[in-house]
């Protein structure tokens, strides 16, 4: 270890090396993410079972969703994952804090855009068209009862996902403030790395929600 890095910034004394500290942080975050996998997994499991029990209704419900907004939001979220990864890389190679903040803010803008599209073009439209069970349900008798079940799954799954996005935006706000206060360097950027893991995880949840909710009912004629 070089002389000047005997006490690198952010290096806690209980660790033997910086690499060990980094592994501990990454591992701890992944343990949390595993609980998140099982948390969302519970909903995915229920979705699989109820879909198998009410397949026709779930396909009918799926056709109420608009694919172009789901696909656009998928692209927006993937783009935000790229900018998040670039924010961390910018810190890794020791670029200026202004550049780190640029990528973080861009990530926040994309995350906010995702929520805005969801609210304005999907949930608000669902409210107007009466597709929200218990809140606004205008069933002209065309829907089988299971469609309500599908829409419940849709709102709980996308709602919990959006909640995670809002939490992520809060975390990113804290990261911007920490960056502005010179907390990070190429030697120490663990909060950026770990928050990045969270942000990418939320992206992955959406990568599965998009096909499960919007696509697998079949969009071709006669489905």
């Amino acid at each position: 270890m070089a002389a000047h890095s005997a006490h690198p910034p952010g290096f806690a004394h209980q660790f033997e090396t910086v690499a060990q500290q980094r592994e501990a942080g990454t591992l701890g975050m992944w343990v949390f993410l595993v609980t998140e996998i099982l948390f969302f997994g519970g909903m995915f499991t229920s979705y699989i079972i109820y879909r198998s029990l009410h397949l026709h209704s779930f396909i009918q419900g799926s056709h109420e969703l608009i694919v172009k907004f789901g696909a656009t939001n998928t692209a927006v979220l993937i783009f935000s994952s790229l900018t998040m990864a670039l924010a961390i890389r910018t810190a890794q190679v020791g670029k200026s804090k202004g550049q780190i903040i640029f990528w973080l803010i861009l990530t926040m803008i994309l995350g906010a855009a995702f929520i805005a599209i969801k609210l304005r073009y999907e949930w608000y439209r669902d409210y107007v068209e009466g597709l929200i069970p218990g809140v606004s349900w205008l069933d002209g008798g065309t829907h089988t009862p299971g469609v309500k079940m599908f829409m419940c799954f849709y709102f709980f799954m996308t709602g919990l996902h959006a909640l995670h996005m809002v939490v992520g935006l809060g975390i990113l706000t804290v990261l911007v403030i920490m960056t502005a206060r010179n907390k990070f360097s190429s030697q120490y950027y663990a909060p950026l790395e770990i928050s990045g893991l969270y942000w990418h995880f939320v992206d992955i949840v959406w990568i599965f929600l998009f096909p499960l909710l919007y696509l697998i009912g079949g969009r071709y004629p006669g489905s």
């Binding site: 090396t17 592994e23 996998i37 790229l82 990568i207 096909p211």
Partner: protein
Amino acid sequence: MSGHAAHDSNAPHVVPISTYMLVFLALMVGTALTTWVAYIDLGRWNTVAALTIAVVKMSLVVLFFMHVKYATGLTRIVILAGFFWLGIMITLSCSDELTRHWEIVPQGWQMILPLVSRLF
């Protein structure tokens, strides 16, 4: 800079920007592909195609954006354990729920087919 980092065992792996860009492009292509294929009638293979593409996209995000390709074995095994437990949850739940409608003692593997077909 990367040459210097290569000699420092404490330095993290810095992923090249070109790798991030390739992963990003692959994810975008995957999104377009999964959307496109949903409009083609493949029967139950629509579900298989959609989930296969989703798993590939997830793997790209996990390996490159989340740096698991460069992570230690300990971290990797924790992640795999998470997915293994997810598999247990889904498999055991389905093995209960999807067999409740069995009215006769199953004879032979053909009994499995109507169950599997109901998933898609």
